[in-house]
Symmetry: C2
Subunit: 255 residues, 2 copies
């Protein structure tokens, strides 16, 4: 297994891959960088929607450094998205040329962080077995708006064998630096979701005896960028996260 | 015991008292209201200092309503403080005449919230026995700054019998809507604190066999207001909190 440092070096030199299963046990993070004038709304959006947006760090304007990792936030993720007026205009592997001195960067917990704990608990992860990106869906649930930002709740979905669903709830609830316990279990139609048509990531096979389990997802702020037509932003590409230097189990205490 | 509604009605009609021990079991909150231009810094300060500043709600500018309680935030606390340039200029029992349409109000978890749980666990609370306000101290530890806001960590102190300290840690750690586990146990001198000279609240008797246990305190943002000479703010008076309508035990799940 690669260390976080090795993983980030690989991404910096051009490797592109979903970070699920990389550097297992280390905290991973969603990235969203916005001009200072929209930063208050984003911070408030995160405070009002803590399940999809558990904040791990917020930088000072212009800084590409974080206390979570010895990383350059402009180069060390495998893929980024550049947004204008709510539309993705580029998906580069580095955003050095797009960086601005007024950007405030938000690092938000990610469900990949608890996947190591789920695996340890004997829970199969179908998208990891298949080597694909976890499926993510825009739901019919709306987030609490904050100033200029509003949009739907986005969820990630993992099919879990019925006899392991309770374990999955308990294990993920313990990981405070990710999205906590699932938001919904079963009944995708009640969320307005069609399982084989994810909005982000790849469809995943549901084995006999599995039921779909949905967790709030850190792509939710990207859906809000789109719905709210924010003039400029930089984010990670869904599934292509920042891998931090922080070993997740030490964070379960002290919170 | 009075309900939260009865307690707030009493405060609205002029009763002034520390809210410790009132409406036991309901979440209590620190209040700090700042003009919009300083709200981002306050929100970031809370995000960077989650032990003293666990955010429960943030209002839209000018609003005196919160989802936490059927309350008027301008009248329903027993006592307030009005701040100019980092100095307290008034301590009224209502702030209707000081309210401004650009004020963003932050409601922050309070250690009074876990006092009911400590009592249930058989832990004596010396300041409640004495009918005084819990002692609070500015320490020699600095918070992580955020823009224009910086200042020391403020702690509250409860003397706890040595054989109950571990229980107090475990019980308070479970209350996610307050300050969590203690930040320091024993050795007040290491915090630069003199026990019988609190900076806020009243000194409290330490019985034989008690040791001082320190929790991060929601008065910390007030110390930052003072240290940072913020032009205008309204806060609660230390110990005189908002009593919400939310029954704390239901919040231990779902976080």
């Amino acid at each position: 297994m690669r260390t976080p440092k090795q993983a980030r070096a690989a991404f910096r030199s051009g490797t592109v891959a979903s970070t699920s299963g990389w550097a297992n046990g280390y905290i991973q993070a969603n990235l969203i960088a916005l001009p200072k004038e929209h930063a208050f709304d984003m911070l408030l959006f995160a405070q009002r929607n803590p399940k999809p947006c558990p904040l791990l760090d917020v930088t000072d304007p212009g800084s590409w450094r974080t206390g979570l990792a010895h990383a350059d936030l402009r180069t060390d993720l495998p893929r980024y998205r550049v947004w204008r007026n709510g539309t993705v205009v580029a998906e580069p592997t580095s955003v050095e040329e797009h960086w601005r001195p007024d950007l405030v960067t938000f690092l938000i917990g990610c469900s990949f962080t608890f996947e190591a704990a789920l695996t340890e608990a004997g829970i199969p992860l179908r998208h990891v077995e298949a080597g694909t990106t976890v499926p993510m869906y825009r739901t019919n649930r709306t987030c609490r708006p904050a100033g200029s930002l509003s949009g739907p709740l986005v969820v990630s979905m993992r099919p879990i064998p019925t006899d392991l669903v309770a374990t999955a709830v308990q294990v993920s609830a313990q990981v405070h630096t990710a999205h906590g316990a699932p938001t919904h279990i079963g009944a995708p139609e009640s969320l307005g979701v069609t399982l084989n048509s994810p909005d982000y990531g790849d469809p995943v096979e549901i084995h006999d005896g599995d039921i779909p389990v949905f967790w709030a997802c850190g792509v939710t702020p990207q859906a809000a960028l789109a719905a709210s037509r924010i003039p400029f932003a930089i984010t990670h590409a869904p599934g292509h996260m920042l891998i931090t230097d922080i070993w997740e189990p030490v964070y379960r205490l002290g919170s």
